[in-house]
Assembly symmetry: D3
Homo-oligomer: 235 residues x 6
């Protein structure tokens, strides 16, 4: 079964990391189609970047669907363009952010999100509200590490995230969600060190996309995700 992973930003390096993480999570019989948006921002930091990446994201999803993808993952924790993608696609589409939140709610009664920049927090809070997890996930904490510096050793990313999670645990969280698709590498070690579930959205979304595809479920076309009458506008 083919599953497409679309990185809505244009960064080749980050697409590679996401692809590697997805590969670790995918079932043996899954063939991953890892794509990125071909135009737009190289990282998604705030709603302006989020808006500009959507046309490229939608093109990648349409292409993947023509190539036989049975489900799609939008590999940005902001779940950028999720509604538009679900309208365009006849296959399940899963955002990395929502997937992690759903997964966390199955292993913790209260959990936190730790993310990159403060400017992303309002978008994440809105997504949490949209999914219905506002009572389960009251803490959304920013590390103030830019997306593209997460993997530079001098960013101190791992330590900063660890410190934020410990503080959240003291304030009632029982698990942590890593709030950026670029943090996938950190989850295993943080979970081992902190002794609580640490959820990576890429892992969660790949597994949920497989699950939905196998269940024969796809977006309802009855409401806001009805197939667009102007799909040809994508060019």
């Amino acid at each position: 079964m083919k599953i497409s992973i679309v990185n809505p930003n244009t960064s080749v390096a980050m697409t590679g990391e996401i692809g590697a993480a997805a590969t670790r999570s995918a079932s043996p019989d899954t063939e991953l189609l890892v794509r990125r948006s071909l135009h737009g921002p190289e990282a998604i930091e705030g709603p302006f970047d989020g808006a500009l990446c959507v046309p490229g994201l939608l093109k990648a999803i349409r292409q993947a669907e023509e190539d036989g993808a049975m489900a799609h993952v939008i590999a940005c924790f902001d779940d950028t363009g999720l509604d538009a993608a679900r309208a365009l696609s006849r296959r399940p589409v899963v955002g990395v952010g929502e997937a992690a939140l759903h997964m966390a709610s199955l292993v913790a009664q209260e959990f936190c999100v730790v993310t990159t920049l403060s400017r992303s927090v309002p978008t994440l809070r809105m997504n949490i509200l949209r999914c219905g997890f506002e009572r389960r996930c009251p803490q959304v904490l920013a590390s103030d590490i830019p997306v593209l510096e997460l993997h530079r050793p001098e960013s101190g990313a791992w330590e900063k995230l660890s410190t934020l999670i410990v503080r959240a645990l003291e304030n009632g969280a029982e698990a942590a969600v890593l709030g950026c698709a670029g943090m996938a590498d950190f989850s295993a070690e943080l979970q081992a060190r902190l002794g609580v579930p640490v959820i990576d959205g890429v892992d969660a979304a790949v597994r949920m996309a497989e699950m939905l595809a196998r269940s024969g479920l796809s977006p309802s076309k009855r409401g806001g995700w009805a197939y667009p009458s102007r799909a040809n506008l994508l060019g």
Copy 2:
């Protein structure tokens, strides 16, 4: 004072109607800059159309700001691209949808929205939640008239909207919000006929944009609306 009105769709006719409605609402000393998106869908019916119109919308807002606009109105009831526009702009930005909801909440304890297509209802419900009006506005009703047919006499638009509002009043609403920028023409007559406040978003947004500009208020740059580091991507 210059106020820009940006129609995020490309329809020349609808832009003209919106401009005419805005002119009726603007103060005598306001100069309106009425623009439209130059690429993208000619009507916004659902989240796919909504996503594709944003780049053109943002370019129009940037241009209007360079031309001296002191505030911006996004003239689509879906409030498409609102967060991205507020990040990009150093001036107040008001969506037609949110403006109408705020206005309605000052003249009715419970009110309804009547809109065009069912596929737009989930987007409107999400915006209502985002603004905090989910208790004040429990009814969002679709007339199933496409945006571009609102003004064709054979669409029966006026009658259908009137019937929907009457039903909403019987179910607890005390006022009605017209849920499409293309319905501005209907508000005065509906209000006279039905005897309850009927709020048009273009009117509400033009007045709120003037108000914010005169108050010296603009989007806080401290959170999600921080100025984007990749604004040059707009081209």
Copy 3:
């Protein structure tokens, strides 16, 4: 156009300050009718004071309406007597508190209120809930400066408010609302110093009252604001 500003307390000095603030905000073609309640408390600190000022407030509103006022502002941040006034009046009525909250929600995703006494906080929280801003405005902070001491230099009001706002910004707020009609003078300087929107309710309410009047909107008479059958009881 005549707009009435009713200070629901009896303080002549505070009425003068509110009138001066309102004058700065009103349009050139607006004639302000600045009145105060003629009996009741000289400051509104808590729900007892709030209840006792309402009869005098309603009389002032009725008189202003007879004098030709096209809209009314209730110049207390508690929005005292708002429902009763909307029932009595055939013109728009705007509370200083709700006006500031609506205005803030157009320029910040999360904002705080800083007010005078702790005993006013529950009333403000209830009003925030009533308007639907409980998610947007989680922080309501008291400075513990009595209303009538705000302008005494030895009260240190400016410094205390500034410190409270800075703390709120660190906890997620992106803008601040001044939670007392007597704080109108502080907004410009605080906004300049802190670099975030600082909203004064008198300014917000005067502009919203003008806006509603010009839009031809008035309180729906269909629900709780139906004209009272015992209006003559006002004496």
Copy 4:
């Protein structure tokens, strides 16, 4: 133990009925002080009436407290003046409306309120929200019988209330709250006929007032109910 029952309207007949109902509910060792407001409206229909009755209500409460009342009941389902009364009093104060809602929530997971006029519904909805019962009590239904006609045989009150409750039961309610202090007489027969709990607020409030007084509990003076500094204004 003395318990005061204050009818916030001036109707002698309704005060008598409330007193009779309260007498049926009070403990044998309770002495009831049944009072009414001496000025203001003779029925409370909407927020204007509600506001005008508060000064008289507060005077009656103060007098009852001086006469040794150990707790107070505000005998209007709107819970008019409740916060002001709790600030003024050093004894527990219970509103008829809140008492019935609390009682209902102990014997039904979902319940309805049936009241007199539509214009009272928004006030009741606000009180329901304030108490936290908005999920438990989604249906608030008006019979459109004026308060003072409830007991005229030709009003058909009993039948209308019964019909409204049956409809609410079909829509998910499991119990009914009678939303007017003047409906106390109907509860026993409606409960017997309909086979579900039917709660009268006068009964509920009298019992809760006794209960709080015996428990040694009184309004916290730490928040909004701090003793007013201008209590002498009552005259």
Copy 5:
């Protein structure tokens, strides 16, 4: 009138303390039937203990009902088995937790719960949500004293609870609820010392059970509390 108090755990000592507390609260004409579960955990610390105590609890309630109890109190702050008991019983059933929350909401606009172990906090938060008090009771604080050590002098229970309440008051609470049936002894002294209402659930529940019984109210059998068709399974 007979009122049954069922301690859902098997501790003889704790049952004695609860019985003593209940006796102090009951009316002179109430005969208390104080029982405990005869099998299951000797303290209820978390949902596993909570689930295991229910069969024994239900048997005790059935027996008490056969013995003439007119109402039942479930004497665990977790309100363990409350829905099952209300289905089984034809008499009012009151949980110690919900009773304390209702009582607190009549004497404070915001209050806190202080309980024993952190592992009980999620259960209490869920109960608070279920009752509708999530806005009124945002703080649920654990002292980390096990239930059975509350009364050992070396546990320092009184001091720890006092410190927690003081902290909660600084953060907005105006009253405190003692979140364990074993804390009944502490309430009077804490209330005297701290100067705010301190509510003990055993006291609250005994009084509410009496009140409901006297009012002739019992659980609605129309919804989830319909009499079980397999009641004989209790053995």
Copy 6:
């Protein structure tokens, strides 16, 4: 990998049907351990049945865990005993009800639940609130078919469920969740007939249990699901 499916009721026939449904959903490399509670009710209809089945359910889970199960499914739509099971287990535990709700929320913005008896509706509404889906799933509809009659042809179950779903779709739902583990057989045909996603909880829960186990996630032991100190009480 071994996954345990525990039917918390004692019905052999229903356990067989659930096992068959689970087998259709499980991965080829999953070995299912299908068990049932050995004492308690033969169907779970309301909270009394729900409470009585928990000890047997917990024993089955403990046994399955000793037998090597890597995750557990509680095969009752009420999610009976979920918290207790998560406390007891060191492996992921998924309830059939919550699994279906999570799955539905990934393919529809608004969905409904259709269940068996009215008496189960309050439990389901509480679970929906607990998960955070109260805005996404406002309609919970009962067919009034007892669990054990679902598969009798004369029950007309399929037609009744179909009619209920069609009505829900007209009222805003975009997908349907089958609210009983015994309805698994109906989902494929209903989905084909109605053209919207129809989600069966057994399918959803089996896939989510596999997913969580493969992700290396298990219940956080930091909060309410800490391992019980009295686990030996299970006997």
